[in-house]
Symmetry: C2
Subunit: 193 residues, 2 copies
DNA sequence: ATGCACATGTAAGCTGTTACATGATTTC
DNA sequence: GAAATCATGTAACAGCTTACATGTGCAT
């Protein structure tokens, strides 16, 4: 019963890229996966503890001058085994959830200006995301050229960034078009009325 | 504490389009909102009951020959008021969640063929969705022309379908490109090895 | 006979969010 | 002095999914 805990395997995956603290993991998620994955502290810390108890991770407490002590977690061989098992399993279908689209469907009787505001606000956020991904992709290209060699996973990271960039671009174009359509309708009805 | 119940307002919204049974609501969601919203019976039935108790909906039991009895719910004025309040409120940011992209990021050491399989499977599902949306958009256009008039919300429905169609198209193109890239890398490493 | 569509519900229990709690250090 | 960053956690509770439970009518 109840769905499978994805945080477990997400943490194993992130830690398979290198040892990290709970704080690092959150940051890593926000900076790299925000487009398609999020985790929060209230999930991360208890899960790390649990994974350590199960022997999938091991903990080392680091003290660095001028910083609070950190609990850094390393993935164990057992952890890597569970990760690889999960990687081969079929994945859940992607989930896209938009409260804005839902509201839009029911908004025929609310002031259009309100809907336009919502769309503009969402579009603004996307604009920043789009720039971030574009810059990220350029960085990846430049790093690759500068280092005269490929890191083993650079093509995977780039593919993921490309999808994010294009989805966001598609969204922005749709937002602009839809905002314009709604504005035209507003002025039309004002002309008539 | 704990997040806001979105099912309540989703049901109010759907019932604002016309009276429906719990079964109808589920079907309506699956057929119209699946791209960005889902509901399931275990959420729908208790929520309908609760909304009725609060006076936001009213129930009528319908018996039709050859069919099991249905509980059809109508939205009340109080219900409409709560719906309109919610429509004006700022919405949560959209959520996109993809276990496939997450796995992809960690898949540098698993057989590429396994990743390709996953991508091809996902792409196949999208292909069907894409065709469905394309046909749906054509239908909406034709209906509009045939009826020589616009229903008040047709432009909203069409906008939503357009976004879905384009997002799916963008995804399919990315899947194809990514699958090809991975296949090339597989044959490259075979040439070298 | 088998499966699909119609039709309504409940129980269990993990998941995930929000809020709370605490404190050092650096930067403006 | 205020704000941001670094850093780790817990409590409470609503939300959401999965599985279970039950039954009719129609089509192949």
């Amino acid at each position: 019963m109840a769905r499978k805990n994805k945080t477990r395997t997400a943490l194993l995956g992130i830690l398979s890229l290198g040892p990290k603290s709970g704080y690092d993991i959150k940051k890593f998620c926000d900076e790299n996966f925000a487009f398609f994955w999020t985790e929060n502290y209230a999930q991360i810390y208890p899960t790390l503890k649990q994974l350590e108890e199960e022997g999938l991770l091991c903990k080392e407490t680091e003290t660095r001058p001028g910083n609070p002590p950190r609990n850094v977690y390393y993935i164990t061989d057992t952890g890597r085994a569970e990760l690889n098992e999960w990687l081969l399993l079929p994945n859940d279908p992607m989930v896209f959830r938009s409260e804005l689209l839902l509201k839009m469907r029911f908004s025929q009787d609310v002031p259009i200006s309100n809907l336009i505001e919502k769309l503009e606000k969402a579009r603004y956020v996307y604009q920043n995301d789009y720039q971030a991904f574009t810059e990220r992709l350029i960085d990846l290209h430049l790093t690759e050229i500068a280092e005269h060699r490929e890191k083993p996973d650079v093509h995977l990271v780039m593919a993921i960034c490309k999808l994010a960039e294009r989805m966001i671009k598609t969204s922005i174009e749709w937002y602009d078009e839809t905002i314009e359509m709604l504005k035209e309708r507003t002025s039309d009805s004002q002309d008539k009325g």
